[in-house]
Each structure stands twice: as C-alpha cells, then as structure tokens.
C-alpha cells in the first residue's frame, strides 16, 4: 500500500483543529503556530499530489478505498483526477495564506487579523478545510455529501462570531439556510439515484465510479438532473440563487471571505459537475440551455452590480458571482474547450478572489472603512499590497499573460461553438469588469489620501507580504506557462467527455 496521501491531506486539518482546541486559551501564539504548521504541511502534500499526478495515465490516481458500511455500499473512497487535483492545490494555498492573514498584528491602532479567541477561530476554520478537502477527493457519493455538510456549518459560526458586526447575524443565517436548502434538495436526488441505480444494476452502492455505469433512463435523468445540479450549484453562486453570497462575503472576517469565495464556491460548482453532469450526462444535455441562460445572466448582471457598488467587499462579492457565472457557462457548453476553461477558471478565480479579499481586509483593518470614496492614496503607504491588487485586477479583466486569460479564452471559445450570441453578450462583462477594476485601483490606491486617514495607516506585515506573493505567483505562472495547469485539467475533461459521448 502506498502512502495514503489523500486521507492524510483530508484529516490533517481536522487533527490540527482538535490539537488547537486542547491548548490553553491564553496561548494564542501557540494556537497560531500549530495552525500554520498544519496548513504548511497540507500545502506541501497537495503540491506533492499535484506534481506526482501522472498526466499520461490520467484517470483517478492516489486511490484509496476502505469499506465503511458495506451493508449500504458506503466506502471511504478517495482519488483525484485532472479536475480535482488543481482544486486540492487551491485549497492548500488558500488555507496557508488564510492562516498567514489571520495571524494579525495586535498593534493597538490596527488590530488586524484575529485577536479575539484565535483558538476557536482556527479550529472551526480547519474543520471547514477538512470538509473541503474531503469533497474534492471523495469518489463515494455518501462521503462526498458528508464532507459537503461538514464544510457548510462552520461557516455559520465563523461569520457570526468574528464577522462584521453590522450584518453578521443576518448574513450568517441567510448563508447557512441557503446552503442547507440547496444541499438537502440534492440529497433527495442523490438518494433516489442510489435506489434506482441499485435496481438497474443489482448492486446498491454509493461509489460514483460504479454509479456512472448505472444506466439511468432518459426521463429519469431529465427529471432528477435539475434538483441535483441546482441544489449543489447554490453553493456555486449560480444566478438566481446567488443572493447569499455577496452578503456572506461582506459579513465574513478576512480569512473566511478568502475561503468562502476562493474555495467554497468551487465546492458547489465541483459537486454540481461531479454529481450532476458526470452521473446524469443525458440530463445535462437536456438542460444545458437553462444552465447557459442562467450563467450568462450571472456573468453580465454580476459584473454590472459590481460596477455600481461603493463598498469594496460588495464589489468583489458581485464580481465573484460574475466570475463563477463564467465557470457555469463553461460547464453548460459540455465541450472540450468550455470545460477546460471552467476547470482552470475555478483555480484562477479562487486564487484571485482570495487575494482581493486579503488585501481588502488589510485595508479595512487599518482604515476601518471599505467605502471606496472614503479611501485613497494607499500606494504610498502599502506599495506591496498595491502591486498585488493590480495583478489581481489584471487577472480579473482577463489580461493575457495572467491566469484569467488562460481560463476565460477557452470558455468563450467553447460558448461560441454552441451559441455565438451568448458569447457576444457574455463578453460585455469583460468591458464592465475592466471599467470597475481600473476605477477602483485609481480611487483606492492612487490620488490623495483623505485627511482623516492620514497618520493612521501602516504598511502590511511581513506575513501578509508572504501571502500576497504566494497568491500572485500562481496567477503569473499559469498566465505565462499555461502548460502548468491546462493539460492536467484536460485529462479530467476527457473523462467527462467520454461520459457525455458514451451515454
């Protein structure tokens, strides 16, 4: 038996969470130290997984399978393919940078990061991280669902305890109820799939690789694709079920916003792809027009709403809706270019929003405002963060040379192949995005600093700089060397196409 790398990655944060809780409450720095060590360990392992994934062999690798409840066909079945390996890496990166950002600085004027009860904060954050890793690597539908729910509930506590005091109670409850409703709607679909697959094949199992062969009838797929796909897609922020997401982003503390936008929304999109499209491919073909319609609306509408926001976090929140719309748009094409683009976009957007939220958090901790008109001249005080924000902005606009271009170009190509009109309409969003990103960079980072902020602002800490550098590196590397990620995603896409074509 090889080294069970995937289960170690999945359970490392969980173990770390328990360890952190066992520390005495006063030892704040020790709690942070354990958190950083665990995050670094998980990051190294996810790198290792990423680079040791054999692209020539493709398929699911690092597979581990333990029988968990044989009577019902539930097993702990882990494995990654070309789609999920980048997402595991993404989770590792966001977790690592999230811990760095939350380390904070208890300078009395700043109070950056998490100063109140860091022990509980990191414990809940890491339980969340365990759930996220678990969803990305699970090949068993029951376990996927199990981890999916584990990833949902800590969000409530993280937002309600450490969130922005004005909206946190409202936003946390709204978010939890939206996500819970979405997940239980897909649970009904999942259970129905389990019984029908068992009747068709005679083997009752939650193993997704076996369920792919279940031979669901066309009518069955047409009916049940909708609850399964859209139930999960709620967490992916799909229009018109996106409403929880900007509110949640705004209310959440910095590291949680990074996790939420960077990783959690991918969780929804990924589960919708893995369970909805891959297990019910004919249903996907029937309804792809509907996904495309919703996604196209999300792309343009999200960008437009982002354009009119005065609150920096709301702006990024709605730009996330727009960018996740591009992911869904890529799914809806059901062709090679579109799906590959969507896969890369999940990674690219994850890193990019994590960076945006991190820098917004740094600014807010020092200026105590996120209103764009009240900010200005930050580049003089925090040049490093400014460069980071500009790089993120370029990615967001889809500028060639950065990861956003590598992701968005194939998506538009794929959409063009299916319905050129949608591609044209959706591309309007690029113009809007460029407009609001550039306007904000000018207003927030350049120009004159408002008088009341004079003297209050300090530069970001060293740990913050490490986090910014890490995130920026990924966006530049993928932009300059698409071969870092695109071929990997393509191996996963081939598998999806096989399911779609073979059906």
């Amino acid at each position: 038996m090889n080294f069970p790398v995937l289960s170690v990655i999945t359970f490392t944060p969980m173990v770390a969470a328990v360890l952190i809780l066992l520390l005495p409450a006063q030892r704040k720095n020790e709690a942070r130290g354990v958190a950083l060590a665990a995050a670094t360990f998980a990051l190294i392992l996810s790198f290792w997984t990423y680079f040791n994934y054999d692209q020539a062999a493709a398929g699911y690798q690092f597979v581990e399978k333990y029988n968990w409840l044989p009577a019902l066909g539930i097993s702990l079945h882990f494995g990654v393919d070309g789609i999920s390996a980048p997402l595991v890496l993404l989770t590792g990166v966001v977790m690592f940078t999230g811990v760095l950002i939350s380390w904070g600085d208890d300078h009395p004027h700043i109070m950056a990061g998490i100063q109140d009860r860091p022990r509980e904060f990191f414990a809940f954050l890491f339980i969340l991280a365990s759930g996220v890793f678990g969803v990305f690597v699970s090949l068993d539908l029951f376990m996927l669902f199990f981890f999916y729910e584990i990833a949902v509930f800590p969000m409530y506590l993280l937002i309600v305890i450490w969130g922005w005091i004005v909206t946190r109670e409202y936003a946390a409850m709204k978010l939890t109820l939206y996500l819970f409703i979405g997940s239980v709607v897909s649970l009904v679909g999942v259970l129905v799939m389990y019984w029908v697959a068992g009747q068709n094949t005679g083997v009752y199992t939650f193993d997704m690789l076996q369920m792919e062969q279940a031979g669901f009838s066309q009518t069955f797929q047409n009916i049940w694709f909708l609850p399964v796909f859209f139930g999960f897609a709620v967490l992916g922020g799909i229009w018109p079920f996106h409403n929880w997401s900007p509110d949640g982003h705004v209310a959440a503390p910095t590291a949680v916003s990074m996790f939420h936008a960077g990783v959690l929304m991918k969780l929804g999109a990924f589960a919708a792809l893995r369970v909805g499209i891959m297990l019910l491919p004919q249903g996907a073909q029937t309804w792809s027009w509907l996904i495309m319609l919703f996604a196209a609306i999300a792309v343009v509408y999200g960008a437009y709403i982002a354009f009119v926001q005065a609150d920096l976090k709301y702006m990024i929140g709605f730009s996330s809706v727009s960018h996740m719309g591009l992911v869904m748009l890529g799914f809806s094409t059901l062709n090679r270019a579109g799906l590959t683009g969507a896969g890369v976009q999940m990674f690219s957007h994850g890193v990019m929003t994590a960076l945006f939220f991190a820098i917004t958090g740094m600014i807010y901790d020092r200026s105590h405002t996120r209103q764009i008109p009240e900010l200005g001249g930050m580049s003089k005080i925090m040049p490093f963060a400014t460069v980071g924000f500009i790089i993120g902005g370029l990615v967001s606009m889809g500028m060639p040379g950065f990861s956003g271009f590598v992701a968005e170009f194939p998506i538009f190509m794929g959409v063009w192949g299916v319905q050129w009109l949608v591609a044209v309409i959706a591309s309007i969003s690029i113009v809007i995005t460029a407009a609001y990103i550039m306007r904000n960079i000018r207003q927030v980072f350049f120009g004159d600093m408002p008088e009341k902020l004079e003297g209050h602002m300090t530069d970001v800490t060293v740990l913050d700089k490490v986090a910014i550098t890490t995130l920026c590196l990924f966006m530049i590397i993928i932009g300059l060397f698409p071969s870092f990620m695109v071929p990997m995603v393509q191996t996963g896409v081939e598998n999806i196409l096989r399911l779609l074509g073979g059906a």
Partner: protein, 486 residues
C-alpha cells in the same frame, strides 16, 4: 423449565433488579450526605449489567420464553442495552441535583422504570406489554413530581399521571377488544389471524387506533404530545432527559414490534392504509414540533418541542415497513438518545450552577466554559442533523428508507422540517457563541462541572461523534435487530 435461554432472555431485568435490591440494603447505612453515592452504585451497576448481558445474554434465533410472554431477539436486546445506557447516564446526572440526587428512592424509581422499559422492548403478549408499560410509567409519574416543594414539579407529575392514566386505559380497552375478537393475547398469533382474515378489517383498524393512543403518548406523537412541554419543564431536568430519550424509545420499541409483526407484507391493503396513517401522523408530528419550537425562550421547552419533532423523523422509518426502515428507526433512536441526553445534561450542569433556564442566560457560555460550549455545539448540531455528529447519518438513513419505500413526499416534508430545525438550533448556539453576558469578564465566571457530570457528558459527547463517523458497527447492530422482525 428453567433453561439457560429463559435466564438469558430476562438477564438484564434480573441484573437491574439486583442493583435495586443492593441499593435498598446499602442505602440506610449511609449517612445523609453520602447518599448521592447511590448514583455511582447505580451507574456502575448498570454498566456492569450491560457488559454481563453482552457477554452472556446475546440472543440467537428469536424464541419466546416464559410461556409466550417474552420474545428473546436482537431487537429487544439492542433496545435493552440502549435503555440501560440511558439509565446509567441519567443516574450520573441525577447525583448533583440537590433536591433529587441526595435521596436513594430516586435511583430506585429509575431502576424500577428501567425494568419496565426492558420488558416493553421484549413483550410478545398484550398482558405482559400492558404490565410493562405501567411498570415504566408509574415510577416516572413519581419522579416527575419528585420536588414536592416546587409547584411546577408537582404540576408536572400530576399532569403526566392524568395523561398517562387516560391514554393507557384507552389502550387497555383496545387490548380487551382484541382479546374479545380473537380469544388470544399473543401478539404473533394475533398477527397470523389478521393476515388469514380471521379479523375483520374495520375491527382491526379501530382496535389498532386505540392501541396507537397509548403508544403515541409514550413516544409523544402529535396529537398525544400535549403533556410533553409542561412535564419536561417542570420535572427535575435529569428526569426530563430520561423521559425524552429512554421512555420515548421504549414507545418506539413497542410501535416497531407491533407494526412489523402485524404487517410483514407492506403490499397488503390494510398495511398500506396503516402506513399512510402513520405517515400523516409523522408529517404532522414533525411540523407541529418544529413550528412550536421556533418561539420558545425556555431551553427545556425548546428541547421538549424538538424532541416531539424527532419522534416524527423516526416514524419515517416505521412507515417504510422494510428492513432498512426498521434498522434506520433503531439507529435513529440510538443517535437521538445519546444526543438528547447530552443536551439535557448540559442544561442540568448549567442550571445547577446558575439556576437559570432561559436561552438568553446562555449568553457568553463559550467564553465562560469553552468545553461546555463545544459540547452544546455538538449536541445541537447533531439534533439539527449536521455531520460529523450522529444526527446526520441517522437522518440520512431514515430518509433513504422513506425514499426506498416510495414516500418521497414524506421525505420532502422531513427535509423542510430540518430546515426549520437548523434555524432554531443555530439560533440557540448564537447565544452560546456570540452574545456576551451582562458581566463582561465571562472568563472569570466559569461553569464548574462536578465529576459525575464530567464523566457523563464526556462519554455522551464522544458517543455522539463516534456514532456519526464510525457508523458501521452501530448500523450492523440495528440491522441485526431489524432482521428479527421478518
């Protein structure tokens, strides 16, 4: 006549009786301030009884003993273990309840009612069943009204007595009609007669409805639930915890055994009719419980209504009338007993120190006692059905059984109800984690736990997590129990 099977079939009851006798002998020799130690004796004795019956009392093929009075099978065995576990936990939680735990009688009453529950789980005869139900109920009436000086407690005891007496007499009327129609009181013979058509459908329907009244009272199924919130609120908290877990599960043990014995084939018309009746009751129970839980401000009343709604979820498995259905009910009850005992245990530990029982008094608990806060988190999330706690897996199994049997609408009702549940459970946790209490230095006002609480709460919390993560062994026991029904 006295065979080893006979002994094994009532071994748990014998052992519980021995513990009771021991207490009677020992207690008078102890000084007044030492009498709480009877709790250690009870809990330890029950623990040993569980181990002994696990070692020597395991059933094989189902047999009936004691002249057809008792059925010896896995279903009964598993429930007996659950009841004894709940009894042990309750004894520990009773110890530091000043008005109740210092008195040896409380533990004796607890044990007496445990004997009744154990017999309920294994009765194969209506007469035995009725005796068992009364043996369970009467000590509980006394325990509910144990705090004589407390008006609410007296009210609780009296209310419980009146409701109990009324419903059990209705049920007894049903039993007597059944005997009049058929000339037998053995449940399995009755089931045969029903299937061969010796009993007319209308008569069967009516009689079963009467019996359901008695069971519905024990399991607090709507519309027989009115006693629950008042009794839980007034009774000493450990007793309320015991009522809402073991006593409720005992009702379910009878329901499952009767229902599955009478309707082994779910495709018969009468079985369908009954399944739909139970399905409607289940939907109403869930909905009423959850909706009434929403506006509650007293945590014991909140838990009372939530426990009503949980009876509704568990009934989905009964409706399914399949092996998975029965297994999922048993699994659900196991998870629910652990979770709810944990929740009541925390309420006890908290009100013992502070004397307060309102939700708002829990503000700042996680700062005062982080571990107590975390355990409350585990209990409430498990009640809400979130992993990695027991409630999640239990709910998924029950829903899976419902969908297998084609009751998608009922599962959808269940799911809508869990959404309501998530709302009020999370709201309660908001007090624990977010709000600050009136004293700003909560860290200096911890809620100290005495040793019995620590042991009981730690065991329960670990149990809630174990049943939610490593669920294979628990499920195979539930499945073995369910297999005996067919």
């Amino acid at each position: 006549m006295f065979t080893s099977t006979l002994f094994a079939s009532i071994l748990p009851e014998i052992l519980v009786l021995i513990i009771g006798l021991l207490i009677l002998i020992v207690e008078p020799f102890w000084k007044e301030d030492q009498r709480r130690n009877v709790g250690w004796l009870t809990a330890g004795g029950l623990f040993i009884a569980m181990i002994i019956s696990l070692l020597f009392g395991q059933p094989g093929e189902p047999v009936t003993t004691l002249g057809g009075m008792v059925r010896f099978d896995w279903l009964g065995f598993f429930f007996k273990q659950l009841f004894m576990f709940a009894g042990a936990a309750t004894a520990l939680l009773l110890m530091d309840n000043e008005k109740v735990g210092q008195r040896g009688e409380a533990y004796l009453l607890l044990l007496a009612s445990l004997i009744g529950m154990n017999l309920m789980a294994s009765s194969a005869d209506l007469i035995m069943l009725y005796l068992a139900i009364e043996t369970t109920s009467i000590p509980l009436y006394v325990l509910s009204g144990f705090m004589l000086a407390d008006e609410k407690s007296t009210e609780a005891g009296f209310k419980y007595l009146l409701f109990g007496a009324l419903t059990s007499s209705v049920m007894l009327y049903g039993f007597s009609l059944l005997f009049g129609f058929t000339g037998t009181t053995n449940i399995y013979q009755l089931a045969d007669m029903l299937q061969t058509g010796n009993l007319t459908l209308v008569a069967a329907f009516g009689v079963l409805a009467l019996i359901l009244v008695g069971i519905g009272f024990k399991a607090s199924i709507v519309p027989f639930h009115f006693w629950a919130p008042d009794v839980y609120e007034g009774a000493p908290t450990p007793v309320a915890g015991f009522l809402s877990t073991a006593s409720k599960a005992a009702g379910f043990a009878v329901l499952v055994r009767l229902f599955f014995a009478v309707f082994p084939d779910p495709n018969l018309d009468i079985a369908r009719g009954w399944a739909i009746t139970i399905a409607i009751l289940s939907a109403v129970t869930m909905t009423v419980g959850n909706l009434l839980a929403l506006p509650q401000t007293n945590i014991k009343r909140l838990l009372a209504f939530s426990s009503i709604s949980h009876a509704g979820y568990a009934m989905i498995g009964v409706v399914a009338l399949s092996q998975l259905g029965a297994a999922s009910v048993v699994f659900y009850l196991a998870a629910y007993i652990l979770t709810n005992l944990l929740a009541f245990g925390i309420v006890m530990a908290f009100s013992r120190v502070t004397g307060l029982e309102d939700l708002k008094d829990y503000a700042g608990l996680s700062r005062r006692s982080p571990w107590l806060g975390l355990m409350m988190l585990a209990a409430f999330l498990s009640l809400a059905g979130m992993p990695p706690f027991g409630g999640f897996v239990a709910k998924v199994f029950v829903f899976a059984a419902g969908i297998q049997a084609g009751y998608v609408w009922l599962v959808v009702v269940g799911i809508l109800n869990s959404i309501i549940g998530v709302y009020y459970y999370l709201n309660a946790l908001k007090y624990v984690y977010l709000y600050r209490s009136s004293e700003q230095d909560e860290e200096n006002h911890p809620v100290p736990l005495t040793r019995p609480y620590m042991i009981a709460l730690a065991v329960l919390a670990i149990g809630v997590i174990l049943i939610g993560t490593i669920f294979a062994p628990w499920f195979s026991w539930s499945d073995a129990a369910a297999l005996n029904l067919f």
